[in-house]
Symmetry: C2
Subunit: 284 residues, 2 copies
């Protein structure tokens, strides 16, 4: 499938991310439809020109017309949707997603999928601390990364199509990783950092400290406002990788603690020098 | 001492912080002098109008003229300066500082000080990840907090004078805490967060991940670029408080880890809800 503007693109799950995809794709001239749980969501999106058409029911015509489908659902809901509705999809349709974990979803979906359909997974590493189609905004893609995670079941043309999708959506950088590499990376960069932020807030009822708080604390805990439904599911779906990263972090943090307890200033300075040197690479 | 513009204010230690004080005070019309280790610093500051006059030597006249002295030195250097030079200070001079830890310095200085001098400690919670008078900038005070940390040796008038200093420098908020309260607060809000950021960077050589890095990781590690000389000293000077905070954090982080390992989704969600609720208080 080429990126031609008479393509029908169906978005399943019209929240913050699905809505942001819809806005970007509508602007590019595609016909964008959507299926979402609530009619309020569909009505809002149609009234505001975010989609051309949509339904909160299993609209067989709408599903059957789609040349490409973007799934913006929680992982378990996504699998269930495929089980229940894949028979309605047009032969040759391309499927992609926005799921934040990959190993646990990509192989299962590909395994159960009809042979005349193809699922090429992707993770748009964009987000906001707010939810819902009302807050959708495709500008969140511009500073962000888009990762395509193919397996050996995927065709070159589907991989290329998915990379193009990342580009037309306006992502800063489009990369390709295996589902395994992706989940290890996301366990460290995203999930571990959220665990740290949450733990820092739950340490103690430190609300009285709000008047003394500087940028450091605010920066480290910005992501401590967290969608508990979504993130607890993502953590569990990436449990092994995340546990490994948490254990490495605990060990490293404890080493610094023990250097401090021992009064080993040179040992602490060495850690700080390594930290400073490595952090410099991230200022790009 | 009133804040009258013919006061002579001496800054001892003309780095980022001392220089920023100098710029703000000069603009307000005070006569600002400085003592610093290197002539290059003094020359630069005089050429650029940051100070009126300065010296890299023990200039007895300059020291003897000061109505107020602001010490922007490392804690141990500060104590040594008082031992060596306090006999040169004018009777009735007011002394303050910018040191980031308080218990370990305030009592020692007050103990050794001549009875006709008064030291009222303060902590301007401002900073940048760069150093030196060349980078000084008094705009860093505007979003920041200024904490005065008196003891029962301090007079009401000196405490008021020190609070006024915070206000005229342009700090967003001026507060008063005991040295003990200050060190506990700073152990949690500032030192613990720096320990976390450093540990996150030293966990592994993760430079290859730079292309996938989103805002969360960048925010959490911004302060991982750290002045190892200064921060290792500050950590050691606040060792007991910081160790306590580190141990509480390890315990809390491990609890979240164990919930994940046990697959206890509801337990994780409860932590996330507490975290979200508490973090909301910090969005002011």
């Amino acid at each position: 499938m080429k990126w031609i503007s008479d393509s029908n693109i169906l978005i399943v799950g019209l929240g913050l991310m699905g809505g942001s995809y819809a806005k970007a794709l509508k602007r590019l001239g595609f016909r964008v439809t959507a299926i979402s749980r609530r009619w309020e969501t569909i009505d809002y999106a149609m009234e505001n020109g975010i989609i051309d058409y949509g339904s909160a029911e299993t609209d067989e015509k709408l599903i059957g017309e789609a040349d490409a489908v973007i799934f913006a659902l929680y992982p378990e809901v996504f699998k269930q949707w495929i089980r229940d509705n894949q028979h309605l999809l047009k032969s040759g349709a391309l499927l992609t997603d926005v799921t934040g974990v990959k190993k646990c979803i990509v192989y299962d979906i590909q395994e159960m999928l009809r042979p005349d359909l193809e699922f090429i997974a992707a993770h748009p590493m964009a987000g906001r601390e707010v939810y819902g189609v009302e807050n959708s905004d495709d500008r969140i893609f511009h500073p962000a990364n888009y990762i395509v995670t193919p397996t050996d079941r995927n065709t070159e043309s589907a991989i290329e199509w998915c990379k193009s999708l990342g580009r037309v959506l306006g992502f800063r950088k489009v990369s390709v990783l295996s589902p395994e590499e992706h989940d290890e990376m996301i366990g460290f960069l995203s999930q571990l950092t959220h665990c740290i932020a949450v733990s820092l807030m739950t340490c103690s009822d430190n609300r009285h400290l709000v008047y003394y708080t500087g940028d450091s604390f605010r920066d480290l805990t910005r992501i401590a406002r967290i969608n508990d439904e979504m993130w607890s599911e993502l953590f569990l779906l990436n449990r092994e990788d995340l546990l490994k990263q948490m254990d490495i972090f605990i060990e490293e943090f404890r080493e610094l603690r023990d250097l401090l307890a021992a009064g080993d200033r040179e040992g602490m300075r060495e850690k700080m020098r390594i930290s400073t040197e490595r952090r410099a690479y991230f200022d790009i």
